[in-house]
């Protein structure tokens, strides 16, 4: 059933039905009611493909995120959920594209075949070929995270530099002098993953500023890796009394490693980092951390994208968030001699 059918049954032209639906032209109250009755009767809904073809808009946004070579993190889940819901509020649907790089088939489809009106890019890298490609095409996109050239683009992100620095200062204030940094997997760092880089940066600089002794580690995105990593930390420097981590998925493993080594948190060892709130609360003791506001990030990203779609030549906008550290139960004064 199509718009012609409706028109016929309502005894009007197809254009009138179209206008009655879109409201882009006034339609007499009487014909509008006539049309609406037929529509309700038949349960008619305009075909999305036809509409997209005719007016060039798909009412769909693409959410581009890398395939789980290893694992997705809980934060990503929260983020995806909030994007989908925020988009739904604007009557946009969300098309998922598991693409880590420009050349992924799915990414090519998204853009080349014009499947979406705009895109949100997750897991941004400092030099991101997806973002570069999009910018070159002037394709409406919002990145989650900042590339190395943030001024030119639309994005929402976390100030990882400030966040890890805040963690360091928190620990230093508690008297810790020898601390470790547990980063995301090495492969992500190597490929220029933004949060891994900026997080490491903030950690390193703040530690230098406070004159701390540090060691930094990369760690796989799973509990087993976390456990192994913790073992290495204590092996490399048994006098370590605290750590900062960006690696949410490894957190449970880090805790386990600590327990295994007989270090009590927070009495003998403090743990902190950058983790989504609800995941920080699943470990015991609950993690003192900068809570990643995944929902807010998702919402803001959608807001920005919708704005950009509505105003094609609005100047670039962005949001840099720096959530405060939530004091929970995993850090305490350094008790080492």
């Amino acid at each position: 059933m199509n718009i012609g059918e409706i028109a016929k049954r309502a005894g009007v032209s197809r254009s009138t039905v179209s206008y009655a639906l879109s409201g882009k032209r006034s339609v007499s109250e009487e014909t509008r009611r006539k049309i609406q009755r037929v529509i309700d009767e038949l349960g008619y809904r305009p075909n999305a493909s036809a509409r997209a073809l005719a007016n060039g808009r798909t009412s769909t946004i693409g959410l581009v995120f890398p395939p789980a070579g290893n694992h997705y993190t809980g934060m990503q889940l929260d983020f995806i959920g909030s994007v989908v819901e925020a988009a739904a509020a604007f009557d946009y649907d969300v098309l998922l594209s598991p693409s880590g790089v420009d050349s992924d088939r799915s990414f090519q489809r998204l853009l080349g075949e014009r499947r979406v009106d705009g895109a949100i890019l997750m897991e941004i890298r400092l030099e991101d070929d997806r973002a570069a490609h999009l910018a070159e095409l002037d394709f409406p996109a919002v990145a989650i995270g900042r590339t190395a050239h943030p001024e030119r683009g639309w994005w929402v992100g976390l100030d990882h530099t400030a966040l890890t620095a805040a963690c360091v200062h928190h620990l230093a204030d508690l008297g810790h002098r020898r601390i470790a940094f547990v980063n995301r997997p090495e492969q992500l760092l190597r490929t220029g993953y933004e949060s891994a880089h900026r997080g490491l940066d903030g950690f390193t600089k703040a530690a230098a500023e406070r004159g701390l002794t540090v060691r930094t580690y990369c760690c796989g995105d799973d509990a087993a890796s976390g456990q192994a990593c913790l073992a290495r930390i204590l092996h490399d420097d048994p006098a370590t009394t605290a750590l900062v981590t960006l690696n949410e998925a490894a957190l449970g493993g880090l805790y386990r490693g600590l327990a295994q080594a007989g270090r009590h948190v927070p009495r003998d060892f403090s743990v902190t980092g950058v983790v989504a709130g609800r995941w920080a609360e699943t470990v015991t003791p609950q993690l003192t951390a900068a809570d990643v506001p995944a929902e807010e990030l998702g919402r803001l990203a959608v807001d920005l994208l919708v704005e950009r779609l509505d105003h094609p030549d609005a100047p670039p906008r962005h949001h840099l968030l720096t959530p405060p550290i939530s004091l929970r139960a995993s850090t305490g004064p350094c008790t080492a001699s």
Copy 2:
């Protein structure tokens, strides 16, 4: 740039370009190369909306999952990821629809506007209006989970009845006599959420069979609720020595409650349940559990849906999985007097 442009530059007709692309009609090697050269030069890709309009297929499947009234679980994350990747392997894109019930706008759009060729339904209820509606329309869909009338449909699911029963038998074999069941939130149970019902069922029957003393609880999908629930369990019956849970998100809280009550796992108290493997490994001690094979479920669901799309009147198929219990470290012999 469109197919006409390509045709003009290659000096052929639009239909020839179309056929060269689809291979549905033979094209001389020479013209094919000529066309391909132009396509490569211009980076042409056929417009998805136009193609969908013309041939009635969107090459998109819908993934319908309820909005996170409270929270998404890790298992859902793994599942979404595997669906997206499995679909990508068939060159299908995935459209997310945050719909819990038939009447959700996004669900209506999906179907009514023909945005997708088929759908995968998550979080199925025993009486599921979404599934019913889809079946009535004979719309290609695959459910994750069984409704009360599983024989009529296409689905992949877990045998929650058998799974929780296996957990009970495991505990009974270890000598536990007083055990608790920690279910998903009451609201989900009330609305007929399949796994909550069948899981409860399997638990109850197996416990009766073994002559155990049981109590069953509903619990919110978060750590705080888990902790509170555990407190209630021990308050209601301090002699409880084990629990079975379906509630992954509450797991960390259950553990914390146990620690707080001074019960050591697994010496004083055994914990088991149905949880995705990688989440079972984040807690300490690692959870002995029936590992939800989320990736496999996602892959199978896509396989089934693609099969159904390719063979519109193939008879219904389904997969009922019963993963074994993975012995880890959270259960042990009952040491109660």
